[in-house]
């Protein structure tokens, strides 16, 4: 049995999640500050990939990155091909998992007690320092669970990946694609191996999420009921 889909899945989902982590946090931080209808519009645009079928995202990505797209055309002239590569798979995973990270981070930042931020300001901390030392650590449980959700989503990505990265065994064939191909080829046992592996991975991730959520509730409780 060819184990390459496991490696391809991990080497796609992990970098994609790292990218999503920073992009999601950045967007959550910046877009909350954009007031008015423009802010709302951006918010909807960034959340859109979550509700659209992944094939729609795949289609749009193909338009952009394909030979006739912008910036695809110029990249092509520079000799950089993105479509049907690992990079394309990573981009697809980022686009699809981004809204989960963005939403979770935004919600988590909004939950941070504003008086902590005010306290930081009156104590002379810079906005940057306030973010890294106060907002982010106190929003960590929400940010962490958003990251895990994003990782799970990136690992499970199928539609957009199929369209933009293709299904090239040994190059862009991830586990979800391998399941599909195995079933198409009548290799049910092989599909079963991937299915069980994905279930096990997802199980572990949900377990981790529950752990973070519990830790979060515990620290909250202690804050609200100081021992006397």
């Amino acid at each position: 049995m060819d184990w390459s889909p496991l490696w391809i899945s991990l080497s796609t989902a992990v970098p994609a999640t790292i990218l999503t982590f920073f992009l999601g946090i950045f967007a959550a931080r910046k877009i909350t500050k954009v007031a008015g209808w423009f802010g709302k519009l951006l918010d909807i645009l960034l959340t859109l990939p979550r509700v659209l079928p992944p094939t729609v995202a795949g289609f749009l990505l193909l338009l952009l990155l394909g030979k006739n797209g912008i910036p695809g055309k110029y990249l092509w002239e520079l000799g950089i091909q993105i479509v049907f590569t690992r990079t394309a798979a990573i981009i697809a995973a980022v686009v699809i998992s981004f809204p989960l990270m963005y939403r979770s981070a935004k919600g988590a930042f909004a939950q941070v007690d504003p008086s902590l931020i005010y306290a930081g300001r009156t104590l002379g901390m810079t906005e940057c320092r306030i973010f890294w030392r106060i907002i982010l650590p106190n929003a960590m449980p929400g940010v962490a669970s958003g990251t895990i959700l994003a990782l799970a989503r990136a690992l499970g990505e199928f539609g957009a990946t199929l369209m933009i990265a293709g299904n090239i065994p040994g190059r862009t064939q991830t586990m979800p694609l391998a399941i599909y191909m195995a079933m198409q080829g009548g290799r049910q046992q092989e599909a079963m191996v991937w299915v069980l592996l994905l279930i096990a991975l997802s199980f572990v991730m949900l377990l981790l999420m529950g752990y973070f959520a519990r830790g979060y509730r515990r620290s909250r409780r202690k804050e609200n009921e100081p021992e006397s």
Binding site: G120, T122, I134, N138, M140, K222, P226, S228
Partner: protein, 353 residues
Amino acid sequence: MSLKVEIRKRYRDFELAVSFDTAGSSLGLLGASGCGKSLTLKCIAGVVTPEEGRIILNDRILFDAEKKINLPPKDRRVGLMFQHYALFPNMTVRGNIEAGIRRKEKRRLMLEYLTMMLRLEGKLERYPYQLSGGEQQRVALARMLANEPEALLFDEPFSALDAYLKNQLQQELLGVLREYQGDILMVSHNREELYRFCNKIVVAHQGRVIESGDKAELFGHPRLLTTAILTGCKNISRARKLTDYSVEALDWKLRLVTDRPVEDWVNHVGIRAHNLRPALDGERDNTLSVLWAELAEGPFENQYLLRCSSGEGACSLSWIVARKEWQGGLEKQAPARIMLPAESLLLLTDSNP
């Protein structure tokens, strides 16, 4: 040493328009919840920007809407202690205090000094949730002082504590603040707290300063009905001026002689529950025949609700009397007439300036 504040800030359908001057002493801002006290402190600290006015601390302009000056919070040198302290839950006590240290090169010295002054030895590596309410408050104070502020602002500093702890902490804080050189501004809805900590008191109501003055004068002779209520006066009646030294209490159906001249603006009269006493034989002026209605027993003093026998159903007075006094005779025979001493009457008006 002074903090001059004169600001206007709209917030939804609420408008804050306050002005006061600490004039080198500790100032208390008294008001019911929602009167804009916290908002005022946030404006001074610079985390909220007012629309109009100016804030001047020791000749340094922190904010001036006309001159377009608005110093960022970090340059204001104003320390603000938040209602629930706002300690950083992800940092230890050491981290919290160090976050406030202004001159980083003095980090070690400052930390040692504050740890000693606020008795935080052995607590430096703990997290805020592992501390008692009192310890949390001391950490908040240490963090604020580490920033070397020129003025200290306190937002309801004792509201998060139970009564026993509150008393102890108030004594402690008084001790620490005695050494402090800058201005102090404390806001609270608790009159006793402010009386303890401040020399001058400003009364705020619905976003405006309605009365201010020396604390003894303000508690002894408030001019406004709202001030009387906020400073704890429980007995109030509508009133009408009769002569220069007498009024008619309309709700109590009683003519009252005063020891202060009655101004034309007087339209209410009040008396604190502590200041009532049983009428002596032969006393007619300022007395009222009463019936016992309710008793609320306290550990050291009892509070009675007296119903006037002459007036209508709504007429009642609240009387607080020390238990000792009560047991020394009053217990056996309740007085049928109650005295409202002329020197204790508050002559009030309900029209705000």
